[in-house]
Symmetry: C2
Subunit: 275 residues, 2 copies
Amino acid sequence: MTLRRSTIGVFDSGFGGLTVLKALLELIPGADYLYFGDTARLPYGSKSVETVARYAVEAAHYLEAHGAELLVIACNTATALALDRIKAAAHVPVVGVVEPGAEAAASVSKNKRVVVIGTEATVSSHAYRKALEARGLDAQEKACPLLVPLVEEGWVEHAVTEQVARIYLDEAFAHGFHDADALVLGCTHYPLLKPMLRRVAPAHVSIVDSAESTAHAVAAHLQTLLPASPAADEERRALPRLKFFATDSVEKFRRLGERFLGHTIEGVQHVDLKE
Amino acid sequence: MTLRRSTIGVFDSGFGGLTVLKALLELIPGADYLYFGDTARLPYGSKSVETVARYAVEAAHYLEAHGAELLVIACNTATALALDRIKAAAHVPVVGVVEPGAEAAASVSKNKRVVVIGTEATVSSHAYRKALEARGLDAQEKACPLLVPLVEEGWVEHAVTEQVARIYLDEAFAHGFHDADALVLGCTHYPLLKPMLRRVAPAHVSIVDSAESTAHAVAAHLQTLLPASPAADEERRALPRLKFFATDSVEKFRRLGERFLGHTIEGVQHVDLKE
């Protein structure tokens, strides 16, 4: 790893991880980024552990081979199901989204009772519950499989999406969790729904966006690796270089991805993973 | 191919093709069936032509290698995007779902104006429009990407699903297609929504279920291959043998698949396509 400017590899099954990349760019503009979206095989959220782990390890190797010095698994499902496998297979440090999300929830929740929403696979893994229980919090996890397709349909501020969110959150905050005071967005698509979820969630609830928490965890990690120095500071003032890799259509990646990243996407390269 | 009892390979990206298998079992109980659900890589509906074609050809080869004497591509997206590629790669006859659906629409539509609903990829391919125009019909195609996840969430008779269907059908029957008199269900998930779509669609509209149309096309195909004889009739009276192959979790295939097939599923085998 260079002592000055680092290359961070960001991996997701598709577009959702771009919300993590967005948070990283805001917090750590002095780095370069490689983003890998496994769009040919998305979504991971409904797939099994074995399948998700195999896909994620392939993507991690691809990013390492292209120069990533630190890997961010910007996908809750891949983190929840396969972080240990990815860490074991990688030769560089790996940061997932679950631990930072749990840490942030632990710091905002006063009564130590938290609701986590995510994909079916993330919820079934109980990765968040384990991470939260390890910090002394009780967690209720709720799978919300319709929210990802609703975001991808572009129905971010739509009556149907609000109705669906209301149904899911009513169930999530039931069964003894009426008093939960934090809602963890355990899927990288959900930050796009944050304004709407803010309206639908009980007023006393803090919303924890694991994209932001993860960016902070990465920043902390980099500080230990890259000590400050005038030369390094100078080099880090350059604009971040971004490269995108997608396993499905490049054109579609650009079009859909811009919604998640919040600005135009250029330089997307198609990747054909052997299969 | 045996002259008596044939083995039919049915392929889909996941569970939807089970609605076609259901129609086949009702119409042609005197055959054996191999069903391949590429659940590790579903859904195909949002993927590109190249990706879908590669996946579908792999699945077709797998079914042939396991004894299929006729292949049914029980997936609108794979048919729409890759039928020619599959036919070129296969060594047995191949039947897709688009032509039978278009044929059925042509026979029920009086004013030759038809609405087709399907996934994003099926609609973008314009496979239905081409097949319908070749029969002298005008078609309006409408992508309904939320209907598959709604069916998979089990919200088949649900206010949200009805609202979503109403939004999609209002758009589909607009722009000069108010007078269309047939609605083609161009996705094998949609037959589960048929009672609800019946309520939402304009009353004068006939609903064309391509699962049923495809079963009829397969039956016609078999009759030319397997002439009737007392010995053959005897052999065909045995119950159909069913084998299922899934690329993702076997347990999940069984659980979700039963909703589509309408009865219990046993003997699911996990397939690990090299990738």
